[in-house]
């Protein structure tokens, strides 16, 4: 490696912040790396890995506590402005001025970067065409959808061709369709202009598109190299297991993940279970574990390598305690899903002229895991809120736990548990105090309350004395679930429960969900991680308020065209088919 033309050279970089409890936390812990020009480079790692801190240091917004950092040959700590004059940076939440129009936002950034008027015209035309926003130039940025805002943010950072482009998780919170568009733009610029790009991401499939990948976790660099090299360590260890007829993939997945001495990782995908075998696994026990499944080898992917690295670091650190002890995972199969617990008929919700949810109908059986998926603004949150009785329906019939939500809303609420997207517990109360408060709010008291609290502390492996606000994200999640389950509801509603928690914590979370469903609790869940749809018994895909698909993950994939495709592509296909159909309708009429 020659340092001569390196875009970035970092040696012994370190940055610490004061944690919520006053102790210093190393966000970046002794990182050295070299990034070469003209390439697409990825920083990959779960939330809290230190990606944003590293990118902000490169952009000259944070000063390293130790080590040196050279960007474009300039010592960024000494002269941040010199770097800032030459780079473009898109923070995680790009600062669009919501009250300015699309064009005005573009003009502002072009002026700030000093783009000459004649270059501007051509550049704007190109950006608007690539982002497909030429029609919306007069619209205020605040009135764009989430995906469009992100595209406009990218266009604003690219009003000129920078010497280095920094993208901090450009695809977080963006639906798969917009995500694909964003990447198309970036790829095109790298090809056409030989742009040097550093992109941080939590999505492994995005890392696979990059020339060079740096894998980070907890402030440290775990590995670096081209994706092809990185994934080699998983070679020969990756398999797919197809469960026998009638067994949900998640049941087999739970069984595999419960055998950590044989299996490194397992996830349901496309009706089967993808897993990584531990190289030193005992053959006999391995075959016994998978006796009823059809096991096939599959090519390794970067995600496999990534999970191996995470598990290895976890073993070394021993920081994350064991996953919560799940109760009986063996499903109590209900022979006759007698009566559905949720009945939705012709549900409609309008906000003024805007129809957020159009005539939607479905049933959910007891003990079922039901997933609501859709792009941003699809109406899933509205549907969800109506089901929990937080928002009255404009019209239609809605029955939850055998009660009509029109006249028995309070009663129905006593039968459901709700875990909201944000951490909605009191951060300055202890774990026990939060549980006591929410138990009390559901009318539990005395001995009953104490027993339930003791049981959930054990189930979720929580320390009652800890201050809730200081818990790590995964544990906050557990506490939120514990409070939602205290009154032993029939139905548990979870709104995007896995956003913002790392892959290991997500595995643990789904493990708990699977076991809860096994106990007969009905689970209604929204998520924007499409692969998580595989854990669901049935999923519903919404777009623009309409139900586009409803059924088992397998059936939905089939509807999308190919049973074997992954959920992400199936989702994109279904939403695009739906949009095409909608566009045809008015023109035919």
């Amino acid at each position: 490696m020659s340092d001569g033309g390196a875009t970035i050279t970092a040696t012994g970089l370190r940055k610490t912040f004061a944690g919520p409890d006053g102790h210093a936390i190393a966000a970046i812990d002794d990182i050295s790396l070299t990034v070469h020009p003209g390439k697409l480079t990825a920083l990959v790692g779960p939330d809290g890995a230190g990606k944003t801190t590293l990118i902000r240091m490169i952009a000259g917004l944070l000063k390293p506590d130790a080590g040196s950092l050279c960007v474009l040959g300039i010592d960024v700590a000494a002269d941040p402005q010199a770097v800032q004059d030459r780079i473009s940076y898109m923070p995680q939440r790009f600062g669009l001025y919501e009250d300015l129009s699309v064009q005005e936002n573009l003009d502002l950034y072009a002026d700030l970067h000093g783009v000459p008027q004649k270059e501007r015209k051509e550049r704007f035309a190109r950006m608007l065409e690539m982002t497909d926003m030429a029609r919306f130039t007069e619209r205020p940025a605040g009135k764009l959808s989430g995906g469009m805002k992100q595209k406009l943010g990218l266009a604003c950072t690219l009003v000129r061709s920078p010497d280095l482009l920094l993208l901090d998780e450009p695809s977080v919170g963006v639906d798969p369709l917009s995500r694909r568009d964003l990447w198309k733009i970036v790829q095109q610029l790298v090809d056409d202009e030989k742009l040097s790009v550093i992109v941080s991401t939590a999505y492994m499939d995005e890392a696979e598109r990059c020339a060079q990948v740096f894998v980070m976790n907890r402030g440290r660099l775990l590995a670096e190299g081209p994706p092809g090299d990185l994934k080699k360590q998983a070679a020969g260890l990756t398999f797919t297991a197809t469960p026998p007829e009638g067994m949900p993939a998640r049941e087999l997945q739970a069984r595999l993940i419960d055998a950590p001495d044989l299996i490194i990782d397992a996830v349901p995908r496309g009706g089967s279970v993808r897993f990584i075998r531990r190289p030193e696994a005992d053959e006999a026990r391995f075959f016994e574990l998978l006796h009823d499944a059809l096991v096939e080898a599959r090519p390794e992917e970067i995600e496999d390598a990534f999970m191996m690295m995470l598990r290895r670091q976890e073993r070394q650190d021993r920081k994350t305690p064991a996953e919560p002890a799940a109760a009986s995972v063996a499903a109590k199969r209900r022979d006759n899903p007698d009566k559905p617990v949720i009945v939705v008929r012709d549900l409609v919700r309008k906000f003024g002229d805007f129809t957020a949810v159009a005539s939607t109908s479905f049933d959910v059986a007891p003990g079922e895991i039901f997933g609501l998926l859709g792009p941003n603004g699809a109406g899933k949150t509205t549907t969800f809120r109506m089901l929990c009785g937080l928002l009255p329906a404009t019209s239609g019939h809605l029955e939850v736990a055998g009660l009509n939500l029109r006249n028995a809303r309070a009663e129905a609420r006593g039968r459901i548990g709700y875990v909201s997207q944000k951490f909605a517990l009191y951060g300055n109360l202890s774990v026990r105090e939060n549980l006591e408060f929410f138990g009390g709010a559901y009318g539990l008291r005395g001995k009953a309350l104490r027993t339930r609290i003791a049981a959930s502390l054990e189930r979720f492996d929580l320390d009652p004395a800890m201050q809730s606000g200081l818990l790590p994200a995964g544990y906050k999640q557990r506490l939120a679930m514990a409070t939602g389950l205290l009154h032993e509801p029939d139905i548990l509603f979870l709104d995007e429960p896995t956003s913002g928690i790392d892959p290991l914590a997500r595995r643990a979370f789904w493990h708990t969900i699977t076991s809860l469903a096994g106990d007969g609790v009905t689970i209604i869940i929204t998520t924007h991680f499409m692969e998580e749809a595989e854990y669901c018994d049935r999923i519903a895909i919404q777009d623009a308020g309409e139900m586009l698909a409803l059924g088992t993950p397998r059936a939905v994939r089939k509807e999308a065209g190919d049973e074997g495709m992954d959920m992400n592509n199936a989702f994109i296909a279904i939403v695009e088919q739906g949009r095409a159909a909608r566009n045809r309708k008015p023109s035919a009429a």
Binding site: F17, R56, A59, G60, L61, L62, K63, P80, Q81, Q84, D85, I87, S88, Y89, M90, P91, Q92, R93, F94, G95, L96, Y97, E98, D99, L100, E104, D107, L108, Y109, D111, L112, H113, G114, G153, C156, T157, L166
Partner: protein
Amino acid sequence: MSASGFTTRLVALTRKETRQMLRDRSNLVVGLLLPVVLILLFGYGLSFDVKDARVTVVLEDSSPTARNIVAGLHGSPYLAPTWETSMAEAERMIRAGETDAILRVPGEFSARLAAGEGGLQLLLNGVDSTTASVIEGYVDGALSVPMQQQADRAGNKPAGAASVTIIRRIWFNETGESTWFLVPGLIVLVMTLIGAFLTSLLVAREWERGTLESLFVTPVRPLELVLSKLAPYIVIGGIDLILCLLAAKYLFLVPMRGSLWIIVVSSLLYLLVSLGLGLFISAITRNQFAASQMALLASFLPAMMLSGFVFDLRNTPVVIQVISQLLPATHFMGLIKTLFMAGDYWPDILRNCSILAFYAIVLIALTRRSLAKRLD
């Protein structure tokens, strides 16, 4: 970076700020409507003048001499005397708040007056002490002339009384109209409100929405950010200043004895100070709610209570006096009142304007520093 880069960026940023200001209706309400409301509220609603004070006269001596003296009360536009015969009833009225004062003319008043020792009793409702002392002054003034005449007529001057006569004149505000000193003070309040309150949201909003992070990684310099945020609000403040001056001149008929241009220049200087204060608070709190609360506490309330707007600061404890001397509002308050009512007095103008200029420069420099392009 070349000077042209500076201009291009400054123009772009100022245009952006102006657009944002014009598109946010609540900004315009606070910036233009609220000053009008304040002008009307303080101009008409707040006054320390007492007009038509209710004085109950209990005439226990009905001699012509007594009647003659008390008749003086009728001549005053500030007093509305009523007549009562029983002292008990008058006392009941003052307790019930039906009257503000009792003037008692005792039984042998004329006889005693003839003897040179005539005395009247004035009972005041001290619940509102300001009003009480104002009424005392009025009654005193209304009675002194007929008393004097009566004494002259009687020809028996009390020994020594005639040799010293105090002739009272109030300078600068001859009739003691409170609007005369409240309305110039209002300019201070309006400038404070526009400056500190409106701008306190500006930087904090950009922190909250994350727009600042994007701006930082561009060739933008901190000073350009500060200047672009000042410019549109100087215009709004200028409009408000014109409104205030028009209202002072044509609505409240306050004299403007100092030069207009000095009034305008010093007001704009003070506007810069409060804009700087607002921006500085906004830049360090990074939170709109905290910033607006703090701006209210640090600028508007002190400007109202501690600047000498209403209360004479010389009567306050030393600590408060020290604090008030630290407030730019106090210096501008003193200056603008002098300018309006007393005229140009250069030593005062120069001293106060330099203090204001000093504050403006310090605050703007501090804001610029707090916008150093750093997130840690």
